[in-house]
């Protein structure tokens, strides 16, 4: 359905208490900082956050964690030199953590967006991260059955959108954005600029408008 163009505050109103929220970015590249700030202000809590990292410094995702809004983190790499907010909550037993290999994190969201019910993946076979999961040997190789990760809302950052909702990204800031856009019921994209329909090259659109519900322009 038609993509809405609005401000960050209105855009994140789609998030409800208890939701699973997919948050784009790899470190700061592609991190939708202004959307996260709006989410903090919005006040929704008891959230499950799916993101590669678990917050850096005291802003963005770290601030959301510090505000006590997050019940569980699903991520590949929570521990960083500047992840003191997460570290503190985790050691205090105030947050749940599911560590997922980075590629499985991406592929499980891809599965959610692509209507795949589950998939056999070799990553992590025989390691403690897949303990208790169903395994199967296929053609002599061990695979682990992995399930989709759906989001209620995805908050991502892209580079340019057209008014229809088509997105292009910039360099490695692309990272999780295109996958998360497919995996959530509602996708909110923060972009540096919104251009007229017809301004983007159809050969170069990375996220087609069908995946984007809401656009928020945040000039950079």
């Amino acid at each position: 359905m038609r993509t809405t163009i609005t401000d960050a505050r209105e855009a994140v109103a789609a998030v409800k208490d208890g939701d699973t929220v997919l948050v784009g970015g790899f470190g700061m590249a592609g991190m939708p900082v202004e959307l996260i700030d709006a989410l903090i202000e919005h006040g929704a809590g008891d959230l499950t956050i799916v993101s590669n990292n678990a917050g850096n410094g005291d802003t963005g995702l770290a601030a959301l964690l510090a505000a006590g809004r997050v019940r569980k983190m699903i991520c590949s790499f929570p521990r960083q030199t500047d992840s003191w907010v997460f570290d503190g909550l985790y050691r205090a037993g105030k947050i749940e953590l599911e560590v997922v290999p980075q590629g499985n994190l991406a592929e499980r969201m891809r599965a959610a967006g692509a209507g795949i019910g589950a998939f056999f993946c070799p990553t992590g076979a025989g390691t403690m991260l897949t303990e208790g999961k169903e395994t199967r040997v296929i053609d002599g190789r061990e695979y682990v059955l992995e399930y989709p990760i759906h989001g209620d809302v995805a908050l991502i950052r892209a580079h340019v959108a057209d008014r229809l909702g088509n997105l292009v990204y910039r360099k490695t800031a692309r990272n999780f954005g295109p996958v998360m856009a497919t995996a959530a019921t509602v996708t909110v994209a923060q972009v540096s600029s919104i251009v007229e329909i017809g301004s983007l090259d159809p050969e170069c659109v990375v996220t087609p408008s069908i995946y984007v519900n809401t656009l928020v322009e945040v000039p950079r």
């Binding site: 967006g113 057209d162 088509n166 983007l200 159809p202």
Partner: protein, 210 residues
């Protein structure tokens, strides 16, 4: 009066919500595109890898790198996007299309769809993207004649032809009536030149009014 093909296509077009992302099946459903109002901002998907597909064009204007699922040459509208087949079918299977409209040999009261194979022993099976659309789109609408040329009903208690998908059809548009399928069974939404009772007498499926 029953509807002619153009009236039926116009009727379906009018029921597609503004801004919807829609896949129109090969054959008669393709003609629906002509009756979509530009201001409705309906975006057409074609499973060979495109959103924002425009009209079918004559062969002398064709760009053969730009075709629809029926391999007819088409145009590209502003705001279009191209993607490869795995991404295109991920889009379908993942439930992102609002509506698809397909033809059918049979639709059952439970919404089972049969539209890919007559079941004839000498027929060469060919399915294309029909099964992917049947499981994928949020709404699967069928556009067909209500009866075969031999007079047999195509809205049936159980499909006798091989299935394309189970319990997937939500609406059936025919020249005599439109039907909504769902938890309340088969409901007649509109009739054209036939009464509800007459319709009920010619179909072997329990009907109710919407």
């Amino acid at each position: 009066m029953s509807l002619d093909k153009e009236e039926l296509a116009r009727l379906v077009a009018g029921d597609i919500p503004p801004g919807a992302y829609v896949n129109l099946g090969i054959g008669q459903p393709t003609t629906i595109a002509r009756f979509l109002e530009p201001e409705s901002c309906v975006v057409l998907h074609t499973e060979n890898g495109m959103l924002g597909m425009g009209d079918v064009v004559p062969a002398d204007e064709a760009d053969w790198d730009l075709t629809n699922a029926g391999k007819q040459p088409v145009t590209e509208l502003p705001g279009a996007a191209y993607f490869h087949h795995a991404d295109s079918f991920a889009m379908m299977r993942g439930g992102h299309l609002d509506v698809c409209v397909m033809g059918a040999f049979q639709v059952s009261a439970a919404g089972d769809l049969a539209n890919w194979h007559t079941g004839a022993p000498d027929a060469i099976p060919a399915v294309g993207g029909a099964m992917d659309l049947a499981v994928g789109a949020k709404e699967v609408w069928v556009m067909m004649t209500l009866f075969t040329k031999q007079g047999q009903a195509k809205l049936v208690p159980e499909c006798t032809y091989p299935l394309t998908g189970k319990a997937c059809v939500t609406r059936v548009y025919t020249e005599l009536a439109t039907f909504h399928l769902g938890p309340s069974g088969v409901q007649v939404a509109q009739t054209f030149g036939i009464t509800f009772d007459e319709l009920a007498s010619r179909l072997d499926v329990p009907l109710s009014k919407v």
